[in-house]
């Protein structure tokens, strides 16, 4: 069976759910091989094998992670040349898409971004124009490079050999041109990651200030959800920018999205419109966000949201 390369998302060897989704998807297309870049393979290998990685290619070299994007594309281009895989799957994150773009140029391949499904004959489904149009597209030249949105496939275990081999790559001077001199972590709690979360609870200008986000966080915690924010809230400094949902923030597609005090500007919708179920709390019945709501309450979020949080607590107890 043809090999499918999967670039693994992980943090120091703790494998992200998106990687398990890609391995699961890859099994329906061919034989998954995991490409693991950076340190921590000893803690990751078992999980990768459990989710179907037949091979694990390990490239643990500080130069690969100490520079912006280009080294990973060079590594993947080398693997594409050596292994002639049937396709390369990468998570549709900001960085994943950039890696895919550079890899496509290097490998002489077409590239498709933001797929929400990929069929056995490598036809990708894209949801475009804010979810209003569904497109089937296919790479016609080279090794298809496809980035897949988080939450597109439910991860399923299917143990495989997980045969490890080390890969080394001689990076070009171009690949090391942009050097990461410092990594700055901004507050991050124990909540699930925004783009991967099954449930997202968001707050906007209606939350009124940083204190208001406590109400949002409590609801999120009652549901095991990630917290999101509109740009009005991140710009005001009420919540860190990496939690921004929308055009210039994260694109999320969770099972459940709860929008509180958010009006539903087109740039916000662009990031959450494909959520499966959408709940809205807003005091203005005319707010455009209600057009997307499966269930909406016109009311003050400071009354509705705490009541909801309490109610969830009671029902879960």
């Amino acid at each position: 069976m043809a090999e499918i390369l999967v670039l693994v998302d992980h943090v120091d060897g703790s494998v992200k759910k998106t990687a398990l989704e890609l391995l699961t998807l890859a099994r329906s297309l061919g034989e998954p091989s995991a490409v693991f870049v950076g340190g921590g393979i000893d803690s990751a290998a078992a999980t990768l094998a459990e989710y179907g990685a037949v091979n694990i290619y390990v490239a643990d070299d500080a130069a690969l992670t100490g520079h912006v994007v280009a080294p990973k594309a060079e590594l993947l281009a080398q693997l594409v040349a050596e292994k002639s895989p049937a396709a390369v799957l990468i998570t549709s994150s900001a960085e994943g898409k950039e890696i895919a773009g550079r890899l496509a140029v290097k490998a002489g391949s077409g590239v498709i971004t933001d797929a929400v499904a990929v069929s056995a004959d490598l036809v990708a489904t894209q949801s475009i124009f804010g979810g209003s149009t569904i497109v089937q597209s296919k790479v016609t030249t080279g090794t298809p490079v496809i980035t897949v949105r988080p939450n597109s496939t439910a991860p399923e275990a299917a143990p495989a050999a997980g045969a490890r081999s080390d890969v080394s790559v001689a990076l070009s001077p171009v690949a090391t041109a942009a050097k990461i001199v410092d990594r700055v972590e901004e507050a991050k709690g124990a909540r699930p990651e925004l783009s991967e979360a099954a449930v997202v609870v968001s707050g906007g200008r209606g939350v009124g200030g940083p204190e208001g986000f406590e109400v949002i966080e409590k609801l999120a915690d009652s549901l095991g959800a990630a917290v999101g924010a509109s740009r009005a809230a991140t710009d005001a400094g009420w919540y860190p920018h990496q939690y921004q949902v929308g055009q210039t923030g994260k694109t999320v597609s969770p099972q459940l999205y709860i929008a509180n005090g958010i009006s539903g500007a087109i740039q916000h919708r662009a990031g959450m419109q494909t959520s499966k179920t959408i709940i809205v709390v807003n005091k203005d019945p005319e707010a455009p966000i209600f057009e997307l709501a499966d269930y909406g309450v016109v009311g003050d979020l400071f009354e509705v949201v705490p009541q909801l949080t309490d109610e969830i607590g009671k029902r879960k107890a």
Partner: protein, 260 residues
């Protein structure tokens, strides 16, 4: 410093975007075009850097004839000159061909910085800046919410990441893409709009740029749209007014849907 800003004309954010049934590409004729919002931030950043380093800013756009509006807008904000890559052979280009054409035209122009928006609002791929950096063999400094380019050949940015940001350093020439947190784009002044009319805009065809027609456009695309359809409309939801039990009602709905 010589700075080139790449700007794309896209359908107005609020317009209903459609694919053309024959070419299966974006129908750009039936909608009003505007400068891609994020590219306004790219223009602003370029102008700020040029002002601080006595540099010059050239704005570059590839697209159909009406893209001149977007080029003029950048000129009226203060850019010095424009380049318009205009050729019917480019219609329907994929990201591979778009990045090729932009790179070919940039080659040999000696830009120190090439600044992009980080994403277009129509196709939303967020790949062109990385692909142009790859093709030109220069440093990629993308998703910047802060840029320091003092004009001494060094450039430093804050690159937004999932966990916060990375501080990234490189030497010029470099490709930069910006996010909307970086600045507040200026409005063109009346004087700026008048001045823009007299600024030079160079039109470049495929032949001028030495690009083989067979490598770009719809026919040359390395990926193709096989079919498309309107997504099933979202069923109208239930909207209720809070009468003191709004939270309980949502909880009921969540229970029904098996979320709790």
């Amino acid at each position: 410093m010589k700075i080139v800003v790449c700007v794309k004309q896209v359908p107005d954010t609020w317009s209903e975007k459609k694919l053309d049934p024959t070419t299966k590409t974006l129908d750009r004729d039936s909608v009003d075009g505007v400068m891609n919002e994020l590219d306004e931030y790219a223009v602003e950043e370029a102008l700020k850097i040029a002002e601080a380093t006595s540099g010059e800013v050239t704005v570059l756009s590839m697209g159909p004839a009406q893209s001149t509006e977007t080029i003029r807008k950048a000129l009226s904000m203060g850019a010095d000159a424009g380049i318009h890559i205009l050729d019917d052979g480019l219609a329907g280009s994929d990201a591979i061909a778009t990045s090729l054409a932009i790179s070919k035209v940039l080659e040999g122009r000696g830009a120190d910085l090439i600044i992009f928006g980080s994403e277009s609002t129509d196709a939303r791929m967020s790949v062109i800046p990385a692909m142009v950096a790859e093709r030109l063999g220069v440093a990629q400094l993308t998703f910047a919410n802060k840029v320091e380019a003092p004009g001494d050949g060094s450039v430093k940015i804050h690159r937004l990441t999932d966990y916060g940001y990375d501080v990234v350093e490189a030497s010029t020439p470099a490709v930069i893409s910006v996010v909307e947190k970086i600045n507040e784009p200026r409005y063109p002044s009346f004087k700026g709009i008048m001045a823009a009319k007299k600024k030079p805009v160079e039109t470049i065809t495929l032949a001028d740029a030495g690009i083989e027609a067979a490598t770009v456009g719809l026919g040359a695309a390395w990926s193709e749209v096989a079919e498309f359809a309107a997504a099933p409309a979202r069923a109208a939801g239930t909207i209720v007014t809070d009468e003191g039990n709004g939270g309980v009602k949502i909880a009921d709905y969540l229970s029904e849907q098996k979320f709790i």
